[in-house]
């Protein structure tokens, strides 16, 4: 953060702009000038496969950079409404031009991922968070490293691979990736190129549905695959990212041979929302207090009170906004209108919203 930004974010300036912040004014001059919010412009949208895209971003000076494997909150405004999703950074942390990228596989019901893939145009303003996440490489990368991914779980691993290459890391790196087919795989051409040019890296792709004719490995993950690649799980630091099924089988296998300490994992959750569901299923999670409750079908306010929490409330009829809180994720139905909303990180009045499936709220 530059000295000017620091000065603008200082207390004397805050005293002059109170109760607002300097950003409320800088925003009016230029949205990228703000000193407390990470924002970025879309430089380019690259279509990776039929359904996946990479968004190249130019962040403002508030961006503190990222470690390969981390993710960012990504907010775009569509029809006046900001939609926020979390995406993994896919670019190399050593990029010299100050840009970075996130890669996203368009989920059939995913509003934002579909929007990114089909409509996002260069020049669009994007609201970001700082990069976050523990799924990162250690300070000194060990001599032997296994990177394992499935489907779109490849994105954080791709950032690791690109960074290792740019660092000229000479230790042995094995990258084992599972995808349904080559058509379904992101970064195919670049992986081919990496495999050919980066000598200490070995890239093995397993296409589970449409295997290649002379494939080295086939089928789902199995310890045999590692044995075949001459990787010893007990001594090799392993990063796995992908769908819950893949992570579960890797973790079970590592547990079984006592190699759990070597494993680092990141789930790639695609929240599924059944918009027509009228049933009381799923779990209601009160994130701040760490309480889970089986969804009873009552309003979130009532369920919170049942769980022993005391959220603020007023009219209990959706008028006064006293009970409005952040819903972190999940779908809710308005009891008056019947409307279902499923946005990440949106404000809802909990006295008139019932959870539809798994819901996580900031209470």
């Amino acid at each position: 953060m530059g000295i000017v930004r620091k000065a603008l974010a200082s207390r004397p300036i805050a005293a002059l702009t109170s109760p607002h912040t300097i950003d409320h004014y800088l925003d009016q001059i230029h949205p990228m000038l703000v000193v407390q919010h990470v924002r970025a412009r879309v430089v380019e949208v690259i279509h990776e496969t039929g359904v996946a895209s990479t968004v190249v971003l130019r962040p403002n000076g508030v961006w503190e950079g990222f470690a390969p494997g981390q993710h960012v909150e990504f907010g775009v405004e569509v029809d006046g409404k900001r939609r926020v999703r979390v995406f993994s950074v896919s670019s190399s942390a050593r990029r010299k031009d100050g840009l970075f990228s996130v890669s996203v596989k368009a989920h059939p019901d995913g509003y934002v991922s579909q929007y990114l893939h089909h409509e996002l145009a260069p020049g669009t303003l994007v609201h970001l968070s700082q990069a976050a996440g523990e799924f990162v490489l250690p300070e000194t990368v060990p001599e032997d490293l296994l990177l394992l991914s499935g489907g779109s779980g490849i994105t954080p691993v791709m950032s690791m691979l690109r960074t290792l290459r740019d660092d000229g890391h000479t230790g042995r790196v094995t990258f084992l990736h599972y995808a349904r087919s080559r058509e379904d795989e992101m970064f195919s051409a670049e992986l081919d190129e990496l495999a050919a040019s980066y000598h200490s890296l070995r890239v093995i792709r397993v296409y589970t549905r449409v295997p290649e004719r002379d494939a080295e490995l086939t089928g789902r993950f199995d310890l045999v695959h590692l044995k075949h690649l001459d990787v010893d799980p007990t001594t090799t630091l392993t990063y796995v990212c992908g769908p819950a099924g893949l992570i579960a089988s890797v973790r079970d296998a590592y547990d079984e041979i006592g190699a759990a300490a070597q494993l680092r994992q990141e789930y790639f959750k695609v929240p599924t929302v059944d918009l027509s569901a009228a049933d009381a299923t799923g779990t209601l999670t009160f994130d701040d207090s760490g309480i889970d409750a089986a969804n009873s079908g009552a309003t979130i306010l009532e369920q919170a009170e049942k769980a022993g929490l005391t959220p603020d409330f007023g009219c209990r009829m959706g008028v006064c906004n006293t009970c409005a809180i952040k819903k972190n994720h999940g779908a809710v139905r308005h009891v008056i209108s019947g409307e279902v909303t499923a946005n990440t990180d949106e404000t809802v009045k909990i006295c008139v919203q019932v959870p539809v499936g798994d819901v996580n709220v900031a209470l």
């Binding site: 109170s18 409320h24 409404k81 049933d279 007023g314 008028v319 906004n321 008056i336 404000t347």
Partner: protein, 428 residues
């Protein structure tokens, strides 16, 4: 997934449209009694229908919210920030009177826009659907000495839920004025008019004081911890506002003294005071015209117990008054000139009120209701006449708060309540 057994949620679709559930504290002990609000005007069935029609209007607007509403509030915010900066610069130039006076006016306008069309409306949650932290009702703090949190409690919850119910809505006369015939008269009400004129100048301080709810604490209805927390929040907010307008900006203008004159910081201070007074006077006028003109109805707790959604809507309609005017006037009043529509739909963006007013008018005609509206001058006149007339001691001793007759009545009521409690205790 059809093989999963689906358990129906105990929520009927659209159940709250016939959500005949009053806000919790208004549910009477005897659930079988029905609220009597509006029965002189329509039947229960009609009230039900009336509520449903208004729910429909509300939903139509909610479904239509989008880019244009977002663009609108951002345009207002931009105009406000420009007025703010221009105003601050102008106030820094007291050596050039046209700029100084223009600056004060611009700063006053900025504060009016910020408090009304932006602050008040954003804090109602009208723009929460945008998911933009700048217009998030939960986070917003306004340019006013009253802290947002306590103002929201008193305004959004108490005032907007229990609108014009005696003993529940603390905004009927703000515990200061006698503005309704049903309020008991006390000698201090002789000063209704001069006191109101004084409050007009310092309105933001009145709002802040009202939000501390000293009367609730003294009446034993609020815990000491809560009261202390309110005081602390208010002091903190007052400090920030005072430091900004009356210390930091005058201090910053000291830098101009070597090039201009020694009195510049004092003039800056005076300019800021003037801008705050401009805002105070304007907001006072708009707000007093919202509920205090004659013919605005008030209600008793008994009438409202177990009210239906339709009755709740009707109470909002009968308990509010509009002001007619130009488009600019409506923006400058935060569209609170559409007080009726605001009370019916407090959480839909205020720019939509002119549009929903057409539907409200249609329903008003359909059910032959009274829609209180008039020019600003008419409504101000009505409020002033009310304050003057109701400030005089009523001849009916039951309307005088400290008359022997009223005291006897209150004693009787207390004893009856006590007896009922004891009867309940012995029965249990």
């Amino acid at each position: 997934m059809s093989h999963y057994r689906k358990k129906r949620a105990p929520i009927e679709p659209l159940s709250a449209s016939n959500h005949n559930q009053a806000p919790v504290p208004l549910v009477g002990e005897d659930a079988s009694t029905r609220a009597t609000i509006g029965l002189d005007l329509m039947t229960y069935e009609q009230l039900e229908e009336f509520g449903k029609e208004l729910d429909k209007v509300r939903q139509r607007v909610l479904d239509d919210l989008g880019q244009k509403d977002a663009d609108y509030i951002r345009r207002v915010i931009k105009a406000q920030r420009v007025c703010d900066v221009v105003g601050r610069v102008g106030v820094f130039m007291p050596f050039f009177p046209p700029a100084f006076v223009g600056g004060i006016a611009s700063l006053g306008i900025s504060k009016i826009l910020e408090n009304m069309e932006i602050g008040h409306n954003v804090m109602h949650g009208q723009y929460d659907w945008m998911n933009d932290p700048v217009v998030d009702g939960k986070k917003y703090e306004w340019d006013n000495v009253a802290p947002a949190q306590d103002w929201k409690h008193g305004h959004n919850y108490i005032h907007h839920t229990y609108t014009n119910i005696h003993g529940m809505d603390r905004d009927i006369g703000y515990n200061l004025f006698r503005i309704d015939d049903e309020q008991p008269w006390y000698p201090s009400h002789r000063f209704n008019l001069p006191l109101a004129s004084l409050l007009m100048l310092f309105f933001e301080w009145g709002v802040m004081y009202h939000g501390i709810e000293l009367d609730e604490y003294l009446g034993g209805r609020m815990s000491k911890a809560e009261f202390t927390a309110r005081k602390k929040r208010a002091l903190q907010k007052v400090r920030r506002q005072v430091v900004k307008d009356y210390v930091a900006f005058p201090l910053a203008s000291v830098a101009l003294v070597p090039f201009t004159a020694w009195w510049v910081p004092l003039a800056v201070l005076g300019g800021n005071v003037a801008a705050n007074i401009i805002r105070n006077v304007w907001t006072f006028i708009i707000i007093f015209c919202g509920h205090f003109p004659a013919e605005v109805e008030t209600f008793t707790e008994e009438e409202a117990q177990n009210e239906t959604r339709g009755q709740w809507y009707l109470r909002q309609l009968l308990g509010s008054a509009n002001i007619t005017g130009s488009k600019l006037f409506h923006v400058m009043s935060g569209n609170l000139s559409y007080q009726i529509e605001h009370h019916l739909f407090p959480d839909i963006p205020a720019r939509r009120y002119p549009e929903v007013a057409k539907d409200v008018r249609r329903l008003v005609e359909k059910y032959n209701l009274h829609y209180n509206t008039g020019r600003l001058s008419k409504q101000i006149g009505s409020v002033a006449r009310q304050l003057a007339a109701l400030g005089k001691k009523p001849s009916d001793p039951y309307k005088v708060g400290n008359s022997p007759e009223s005291k006897a009545l209150r004693r009787e009521k207390r004893e009856a309540e006590k007896a009922a409690r004891e009867a309940l205790a012995t029965a249990a």
